[in-house]
Amino acid sequence: MDLTVVQFLAAPFVASLILTGIHAYLGVHVVERGVIFVDLSLAQFAALGAAVALLLPITGGDPHSSLAYWISLAFTLLGALLFSTVRGHRARIPQEAVIGICYAVASAAAILAMSKATSESEHLKDMLVGNILAVSWYDVGHTALLYGIIGAFHFAFRHRFLAISMDPRRAESEGIPIRFWDFLFYASFGFVVTSSVAIAGVLLVFCYLIVPSVGAMLYADRIGTRLAIGWSMGTIVSAAGVYLSLLLDLPTGATIVCTFGVALVIMALARPVLRRQGFAVPQSPTGVAATRASQVSDAIENAAPTAGRTSAAARRT
């Protein structure tokens, strides 16, 4: 690997570290809330905003201007408002339905917007998997600053945010205004997702949010441990994904997404093996997605040879 390659990859790699940092944390909340698709949908709103911004004469067709960011953000916040008003046991329609419909409509609307602009297929690819190799040090610095501020905000109010994510009914009974804090969560989330989508695209942002958190849930209950595992996984997968994309000459963003998938499968497969070796792997992790993830690893365990099955079954009772 010569100097040209290292220089070329430096800014993209640092960008992926920043994305890992903030998204692994936000992902813990999103997975705890059990509405996995909200970030996919919000990311798509951001992408729709960016596509619309391309068409407006004031941006001059420049998709990377700061005005385009603000327009994109406006769309994301609109989505945040929409989702926070639908949440809650008093809502008539299941939230998943609203989120799914919004995702589908926003995607199609973005394609409509792009059909009116030039470089249509490139913008479409950028929308889905981004163009992380083209990121500049200016973009990296700008993103680090913004995410640092939002991270600080979340750290300051972490107990409040954790309360409404992990046990909203109890939080409500304690008098915490759920819809207000929900909106704050989604709004700060929106700021992050809007700029992440501009760099990494909808699918890759979704992966950074969900996969490290789910992978960590297989192995830990405590938030601190989950964050550590999530950050490690995100970092390793980013590096591996970028390297593989160069080696196999494939689009980088899409390669990182696939690498996340493979890494998660490996982590799920390793779980029963590590359990048998005596590592302290949690038996009953909390949360909807974690339960599904542990069902996957349990299913794999059940397919193992007799000796393993017996001892695992014995441990479970």
């Binding site: 040209t4 070329f8 990377h64 470089s119 297929s121 163009n131 990121v135 500049s136 160069l246 000459d249």
Partner: protein, 164 residues
Amino acid sequence: MRITPGGALVWAKGSAPGPNDRSYFEQRLAGFVTRLDEAEKRWLAIMAPFKGTKVVTYHRSFPNFAERFGLDIVGDVEPRPGIPPTPQHTLDLIREMKRLNVKLVLIEPYFDSKTPNAIGRATGAEVLVLPPSVGGVKEAGDYLALFDYDVNLLASAIKKTGAH
């Protein structure tokens, strides 16, 4: 740009006017020919010191322009139109540009400048947006103004980056 000054002349002379307009047309044609000849001498004079300057384009574009004004196109950003370049191609292009000391990337206004800008940052090259047709930028109001704009932009960029 598909039409070079010479090509424009062939096209203009080949246009057939109606019988009533003939003398008016020939008068206007003569005027155009004169202005075009003078302008072409001017453009060639501006570009003469920079003959052989190596550039990179977005696609295989500007071939006639490059040939007429002595530019050497050594590569393109997106080799397969509509299909975003692979990381390896971009890296190879950057290495080639560094090897040949190419300091200019010429792109049309309707292409996304994200990847060209990244290439520019990696090689120290300048990304120039050259409109290929009239109306591409507001200064390129007519055919002669288009070439004036493009040639002057190119010349000052070559001087600035020391590309030649």
